[in-house]
Assembly symmetry: C2
Homo-oligomer: 298 residues x 2
């Protein structure tokens, strides 16, 4: 059957062939993953992993406390108050975002906070950053920080997360300090990078994106569902640490500070799979696959 | 309710407010569209418009004969032989493409051709091109050619269509001349621009994207459906010219060679809506909305 020379991004490295490794060709993504070793991968911190449970299955979200420390604390507080349980996805806008919220604005908040000061950028010299060799239109530099797509400005020292597919952010009103995590959105379309530094990103989806990206689109402006019964119920959101170990999703994420990851980026800057006719010599930040795999059996 | 300061891309200009037009601020997209006149829009050529009919509704595709003349002729020949009627969408890969094909490879072809030489680029000095002022990583220049996202190389004189969301292309095998239009795919994810000049793009979806982008994802590699019954049946594909006038989709597309369009691009390079905190000063090619609207009543 004819294809487009692509790979499933969330994949088991062992399933991929290493057909071009034997020859003297630069490695493909499949080759890079097949040659990776245990130290090229990391597990998840259950204290910074969320499970969004829908009727159709589980969406696994990795939080980014290095970039949005206060939002992460607050979202976990909301989760532990069961704030989100029984709320719903209220918005699904094609090529843009899905979003969940307290549509009726009557859900009480306990010790968590309803709003927080914006965390659009951080200034932390210690933040890891593997720079992408290619230029970017939206930021002076882009790259990867512990598995997240990120950007930074060497002049100001500021760093921030980038709005790539699957990123999770905290919706807000016009007041930049009106977010806080009670409404969260997930990018389901072409990277809306113009939102960078305009809204606080808090994490990314590692598994279950298709449960969000295939939701029916809402017919109201901005993709809001017209009728309450069209909303998609949230059974619960849980911090993975609060879920019995046997019920957790055992995943690993590729590390972004390794030689293997540098090779992975290069395999996407210049596609060497046999199908390709022209190699781009470039990869846009959001087209670099931040690969997730099931944790291998010990 | 909180939002992300975005607009529905396929919208009726009259529905949009012109709140900032009165003040002395640069216009927003809503302002630009509200101020547009009839000459800023064009209708569709029914000879180069396809209707993909699914059980859930109609997907309207505009063909691009200026970029893929032979493929467009062949696809229309296939359509007029009813080649696609009763075939199915066989592939839905998250953040990538949906694709339809003759999965069982037993559909006869009459006067149309099964394969065609690749039409990855064209060299036509007369091709219209409204250049985007911003740099692009995948091409020396990018811009818009009669409503399509495109790229060009001033050195070679070659121009080509760009893989943005909603673009339609002709799947192929490893042989670059093995396409031809019997298998067509639509981009449903972050722009896979590395495919540019690797596969022949033939058009773009103007309406009904959500009927494709929300299809369940296939579980096999590359998003192929595992079981035949999971495939999504195609009732028919028709050339609009062959459909009675009263059953056609009356749409207009924004022209890309006007002052209004230049203003539209600028409204996206620097977002002036009240919600925005930082203006990007840049817009990526595939983030420029090529707005479609219902044809206004006369």
């Amino acid at each position: 059957m004819r294809g487009l020379g692509n790979l499933v991004l969330v994949c088991v490295a062992g399933m991929l062939s290493a057909s071009s490794a034997a020859a003297n060709k630069p490695p493909t993504l499949a080759d890079v993953l097949a040659a990776s070793t245990a130290s090229d991968w990391r597990g998840l911190d259950p204290e910074n992993t969320l499970y969004l449970e829908l009727a159709t299955g589980r969406v696994v979200i990795e939080l980014a406390p290095a970039f949005a420390p206060n939002h992460v604390v607050n979202i976990k507080a909301l989760v532990r108050e069961h704030y989100f349980d029984g709320l719903a996805i209220v918005r699904s806008q094609d090529n843009y975002v899905v979003q969940w919220a307290d549509a009726d604005s009557n859900r009480p908040i306990g010790n968590a906070r309803k709003t927080l000061p914006a965390e659009f950028t951080v200034t932390r010299p210690d933040i890891p950053f593997t720079r992408l060799p290619d230029a970017d239109g939206y930021a002076p530099q882009v790259g990867f920080s512990n598995g997240f797509c990120a950007a930074r400005d060497p002049k100001s020292g500021a760093a921030w997360l980038a709005h790539c597919y699957g990123m999770v952010g905290a919706g807000r009103d016009n007041d930049i300090n009106s977010g806080g995590g009670t409404e969260l959105y997930v990018v389901i379309g072409n990277a809306p990078r113009h939102l960078d530094r305009n809204v606080t990103l808090v994490g990314r989806v590692l598994q279950g994106m298709e449960l969000l990206s295939t939701l029916p689109r809402g017919s109201l402006p901005m993709g809001y569902y017209e009728k309450p019964e069209q909303r998609v119920a949230i059974k619960s959101i849980r911090v993975a640490a609060d879920v019995p170990a046997g019920e957790r999703s055992a995943l690993q994420v590729i590390r972004t500070d390794t030689k293997t990851f540098t090779d992975l980026v290069e395999s996407r800057r210049n596609r060497r799979e046999e199908w390709f006719h022209v190699a781009a010599g470039y990869v846009e930040l959001c087209n670099v696959p931040l690969v997730v795999r099931p944790q291998p059996a010990r």
